[in-house]
């Protein structure tokens, strides 16, 4: 195994072009585990830790451009305002040590259906900034996940940043694990209200081969909210509406039975989380005082 240590982004792109099989390494919270468990033995490791740009972020008019290596801890500390859903998701990643090293870029690179940031990115709306010596392209996050642990990157591409829509409304994230901390998701759900667009977006994690949006649930809710004038009136959502949204969200799942949970449970839990997160987000939208201290 060769260890490549580019000092600049350009050198990193050149190295990746020269060695397309090279596995990028930033925090190492995923790659090193796989190597230690002997699940993979890449020919080349491409260490991105010397590239300072990847640890920075810029908050623009519309987006936060989040460097691929920005650790979850920084997101929790500094980006709670513009990226509330992602900040909530960051809280649920591993342990403090893991959150100090792990990053959204790594989550995207690994493309595990259980990655904690995916539902939040899907709900907020995001584009992955993929770059190679050939140039830069923006990949909408819902088109980024192509299969279990597979993504839309070309072999010579690296993730430079993620452009995430700044929140214009309440966002929520919930994740089920079988212990109260430091646990891989059995399933997860992200929800974002976009009052400007009068749209609701969702993200489901760990309940299908890839992270995905519950499109039918979104469309149903968008229509129902518009039809009932809820965005303007800020009225309570009728329980039947939330229930139907939850059922559609559960229906979007295509889960498996595995050692972490049954397919039936995953579908059920996604429904419960969809109903609850919608309730919390809508309450916040209505200006209710019900917020969570730690959320």
């Amino acid at each position: 195994m060769d260890f490549l240590r580019p000092g600049t982004w350009e050198e990193a792109l050149a190295a990746k072009a020269e060695h397309p099989s090279a596995v990028p390494l930033a925090g190492g919270t995923d790659v090193m585990v796989e190597i230690n468990f002997d699940h993979r033995r890449p020919e080349y490791l491409l260490d991105l830790n010397r590239i300072g740009d990847l640890y920075e972020w810029e908050t623009g008019e519309r987006d936060v451009r989040l460097g691929a290596s920005v650790p979850y801890t920084r997101i929790m500390e500094h980006l709670r305002g513009p990226l509330p859903g992602l900040a909530l998701a960051a809280h649920t990643v591993g342990s403090p040590q893991i959150r100090n090293r792990g990053s959204v870029g790594g989550n995207l690179g690994a493309a595990s259906p259980a990655g904690d940031s995916h539902p939040a990115l899907l709900a907020a709306g995001a584009e992955v900034e993929a770059e190679s010596v050939r140039g830069t392209r923006l990949i909408p996050v819902e088109r980024f996940y192509t299969g279990v642990k597979r993504n839309a990157l070309e072999p010579d591409e690296l993730i430079r940043a993620v452009r995430i829509r700044k929140a214009d409304g309440p966002q929520q994230f919930a994740k089920v694990g079988t212990r109260n901390a430091m646990v891989i998701a059995v399933c997860a759900f992200g929800l974002a209200l976009h009052p400007e667009a009068r749209a609701v977006r969702t993200g489901i994690g760990s309940a299908a081969p890839t992270p995905l949006r519950a499109r039918a649930a979104e469309e149903f809710l968008d229509a129902a909210l518009a039809e009932g004038g809820f965005w303007d009136s800020g009225r309570d959502l009728p329980p039947s509406l939330a229930r139907q949204f939850a059922e559609l969200a559960a229906g979007a799942c295509n889960p498996i039975d595995d050692v972490r949970g049954s397919a039936r449970y995953r579908r059920h839990a996604v429904g419960v989380m969809a109903r609850r997160t919608l309730g919390w987000a809508w309450d916040t939208y209505r200006g209710s005082e019900r917020t969570t201290r730690c959320a």
Binding site: H91, A174, K175, V176, T178, R179, V259, Y265, C294
Partner: protein, 803 residues
């Protein structure tokens, strides 16, 4: 023999946390919470564990393990591995120099697979190389031709007419009396007239229960370093629970006399029963002797799950009856333990499960049977609670159901049937020391309950950390229901059924630089239990010295027995005290010879050693130890034994089988998210009788640890074995979950000290009792919150949501 220190009375209502018996007489002596010498090092990451061992020129050993649960080995070709540069040796069964099998109770376990593998992960071949990665890669080049065989996975497949017999031609001591060769051991217990008692019952409750396979999950994986010696022997530095039991098994495998296998305890990162059996001990020694080089072996976490035995999964059928006034009439049970591929300590686990199957209750008529199966599942053996854990989960569930059927409070019902001192167990053994079962229940029930809706702050907002799911943000109070549950258990202390359960201690007293110094040398494995503080405390109390040096544990001193069965403070502590008493007698003899003519008290008074001096019981100083010893060292090595036990009758289960009993009760308070099936244990209160707390801080630590391990079994810990292939599905800390600090609730502990007159200082083994009742208390609380029957642990979200 010196001053009697065993409490003579049997106080019944001592307050918790009483001080030393003779407060102030021996600073740092028994009854004080002296601090662990290894505590800070462990917390700061500086403690040297066995995995940190290093030797110049050492090689790294690696184990090739079976990918099948049951297969015949047609052939093994090691040529590819041997040809790998850097590889110094490859060993298979054909290369073994002497004995080819070992075992704790009987030698049924192949050192390396002998033509057949019987479980997923069984060692097949060994490689030594100059780098661990080289060894690992070379092992991959060993070509093993397996012919998969049908697997035995449960009682039905083990006892089926055409079941493969996993160990044909058994010659062990249980082979003659078991009903089927795939049964390791079976122990019935019969007591009273069950038919008559059943006829008296107004209510009868039957239930089937299941306990999943729990892992010890000690944090320091199996590791050791074997160094070949010039005399043809080997020095082994090793993390283990019992040096001399390892030695007894290793020496025949190496073809060496025991004196040529010298063992020294290395830093142990937890044990909980998982280090009772050999793991890499014999393997590393074989490779070292073959190569003539030091060989280190260290398992990673993945391999560790295959490298030690687990807690027996169990299926339990129970029937209890009671009269309308809430008195138990009878209990009938059948406990089937899955012993996996090799016997390990299954026979003793069976004995415990059978003899303790009735719990801490007085029951006139009992018809119990426990048995352990041979299957192709992972081998199971010792784990904290040792057969009593499984039974306690089932009988405590039964107690709640009986109480409900009788419309009685579950604590009240238990108290009406609780045993007390003088009670007769179903084995016919009389409980001849305090058994404060009703009092322990009273104490946990009397503790104030944590406030309702404790996640709500003043502003009506929710603190998700106090809710099921925690920061995963799954509920802000929706669907959350509180439940409260109780449980109590009984655990034996020490090795049982006639085992010669002795320990050895060597104590030396000498004057160094004008100060008397005691040196204590035992082979006790310090695995975290706190013997390192207790031995020094005993020496201070008995010899009146301040400075005590503990020698590293090794096989140059006699056996200390196992660090298990809650026995080390009792037995090796007893041995240290015994040796100290002999040292004191010798010191007093010397004093009488030297100074006896100067003061009549030498002949007439009770003399003690205190503050570095010989004094009378009244406190009059007769001489300093330095003067008495005059440069001489007093050095004594002695064995010490507790009261003997006897085997259980193989038909009736009658017999004085156990040494001592230990009791703990728990109250669990849980919040359950009933929609998502997630559980937050809010508080887990424990009351335990410890006889005498030699180190109160360590005692509370043991109770906290046992309670938390029981919580783990209740809600998350299980090795998942595929029912079809018998392969382990979650051998990692990613998927084998143990409680984090955020899963660990407030753990109030109420310690009783009701002396056992038969035990050193009146103490009661403390390490396991809290592990028993913790699990059923948590599950009872979840049942109370959800109304679900929940007959299996660990409880999963699927069980709570019907998905």
């Amino acid at each position: 023999m010196g001053t009697p220190r065993v409490p003579t009375g049997l106080p019944t209502d001592l307050p918790a946390g009483t001080g030393p018996a003779r407060a102030g007489r021996a600073p740092g002596g028994i009854g004080e919470s002296t601090l662990r010498p290894d505590g800070t090092l462990k917390v700061t990451g500086e403690f040297a564990y066995a995995s940190d061992l290093w030797h110049e020129d050492m090689l790294w050993g690696h184990t090739l393990r079976s990918p099948h649960a049951h297969a015949r080995i047609r052939s093994v070709d090691v040529s590819g591995a041997l040809a790998t540069p850097g590889v110094r040796a490859v060993l298979t069964h054909a290369d073994l120099p002497a004995a080819t099998r070992y075992g704790l109770e009987f030698a049924d376990t192949p050192v390396l697979a002998d033509g057949v593998v019987r479980y997923h992960g069984e060692p097949v071949a060994l490689v030594a190389a100059d780098h661990p990665e080289t060894a690992r890669r070379a092992a991959e080049k060993i070509a093993v031709d397996y012919e998969p065989l049908p697997v035995v996975t449960d009682e039905a497949s083990a006892l089926a007419p055409d079941a493969p017999v996993l160990h044909p031609g058994r010659t062990d001591g249980h082979a003659a009396h078991v009903p089927h060769p795939n049964v390791v051991h079976r122990q019935p217990v019969r007591h009273g007239d069950i038919a008559a008692a059943r006829a008296r019952a107004d209510v009868i409750v039957t239930g089937d229960y299941e306990v999943g396979m729990q892992d010890q999950a000690f944090l320091g994986p199996e590791s050791g370093l074997a160094v070949p010696a010039e005399d043809g022997g080997v020095d082994l530095y090793i993390a283990t629970q019992w040096l001399h039991a390892d030695l007894r098994q290793i020496a025949p495998v190496l073809g060496l006399p025991e004196e040529k296998v010298r063992m020294t305890l290395s830093g142990v990162g937890g044990a909980f029963g998982g280090r009772e059996d050999l793991s890499m001990q014999a393997h590393a020694c074989l490779l070292a002797l073959r190569t003539g080089r030091p060989v280190k072996m260290v398992y990673n976490r993945f391999e560790s799950f295959f490298g030690h035995v687990h807690r027996h999964p169990a299926r339990l059928h129970y029937e209890h009856g009671a009269t309308r006034d809430g008195k138990l009439t009878h209990m009938a049970c059948r406990i089937v333990l899955d012993g996996g591929a090799y016997a390990s300590s299954s026979p003793a686990v069976v004995g415990n499960a059978a003899s303790l199957s009735a719990g801490p209750y007085v029951i006139d008529a009992v018809e119990a049977e426990a048995l352990a199966l041979y299957t192709n599942n992972p081998p199971c053996g010792a784990m904290r609670g040792f057969g009593a854990v499984q039974a306690c989960f089932a009988y405590e569930a039964q107690m709640d159901r009986l109480a409900a059927a009788l419309e009685l409070d579950p604590v009240e019902f238990r108290q009406r049937n609780a045993m007390s001192q003088g009670a007769v167990l179903p084995t016919g053994q009389v409980v001849d020391s305090p058994a404060p079962v009703a009092e322990l229940l009273r104490r946990v029930k009397a503790m104030p309950l944590p406030p309702e809706r404790q996640w709500e702050s003043a502003g009506g907002t929710a603190d998700v950390r106090a809710l099921p799911g925690g920061l995963s943000n799954t509920t802000h109070g929706e669907g959350v229901v509180r439940g409260v549950g109780y449980a109590v258990g009984i655990k034996n202390v020490g090795f049982s059924e006639g085992f010669d359960d002795y320990s050895t201690a060597r104590v030396r007293l000498e004057v160094v630089g004008g100060q008397p110094v005691a040196t204590v040398h035992t082979a006790m494995a310090e695995v975290g239990q706190g013997g390192v503080t207790v031995h020094a405390q005993i020496a201070r109390t008995e010899l009146g010295v301040t400075q005590v040096t503990l020698r590293p544990a090794d096989t140059r001193v006699g056996s200390a027995g196992s660090t298990s069965a809650s026995r080390q403070t009792y037995v090796t502590g007893g041995a240290v005290r015994h040796a100290c008493e002999a040292v004191r007698e010798r010191v007093l003899e010397l004093g009488r010879a030297r100074f006896g003519t100067y003061h009549p008290a030498w002949a007439t008074a009770e003399l003690v050693l205190e503050g570095g001096k010989v004094t009378t019981d009244g406190g009059e100083v007769l001489a300093g130890l330095a003067e008495v010893l005059e440069g001489e060292a007093v050095d004594v090595e002695l064995e010490w034994r507790h009261r003997p036990t006897e085997p259980f009758d193989l038909v009736t289960g009658q017999g004085q089988g156990h040494v001592q009993y230990s009791f703990a009760a728990h109250r669990a308070v849980v919040e359950v998210d009933t929609e998502l099936g997630l559980v937050k244990v809010v508080e887990l209160a424990c009351a335990q009788d410890v006889g005498k707390a030699l180190n109160p801080l360590s005692v509370v630590g043991q109770i906290h640890g046992g309670t938390t391990q029981g919580l783990g079994l209740a809600v998350m810990e299980e090795i998942v074995v595929d029912p079809v292939t018998a392969k382990v599905r979650n051998p990692s800390f990613t998927d084998y979950l143990i409680p984090t600090i955020l899963d660990t609730p407030t753990l109030p502990v109420d310690v009783l000290e009701l002396a056992d007159a038969h035990a050193p200082y009146g103490l009661r083994g403390v390490g396991e009792a809290s592990t028993l009742s913790s699990t059923p208390a948590v599950v009872a609380a979840i049942r109370a919150a959800t109304g679900l029957p929940l007959a299996r642990v660990p409880v999963r979200p699927e069980h709570l949501t019907g998905t």
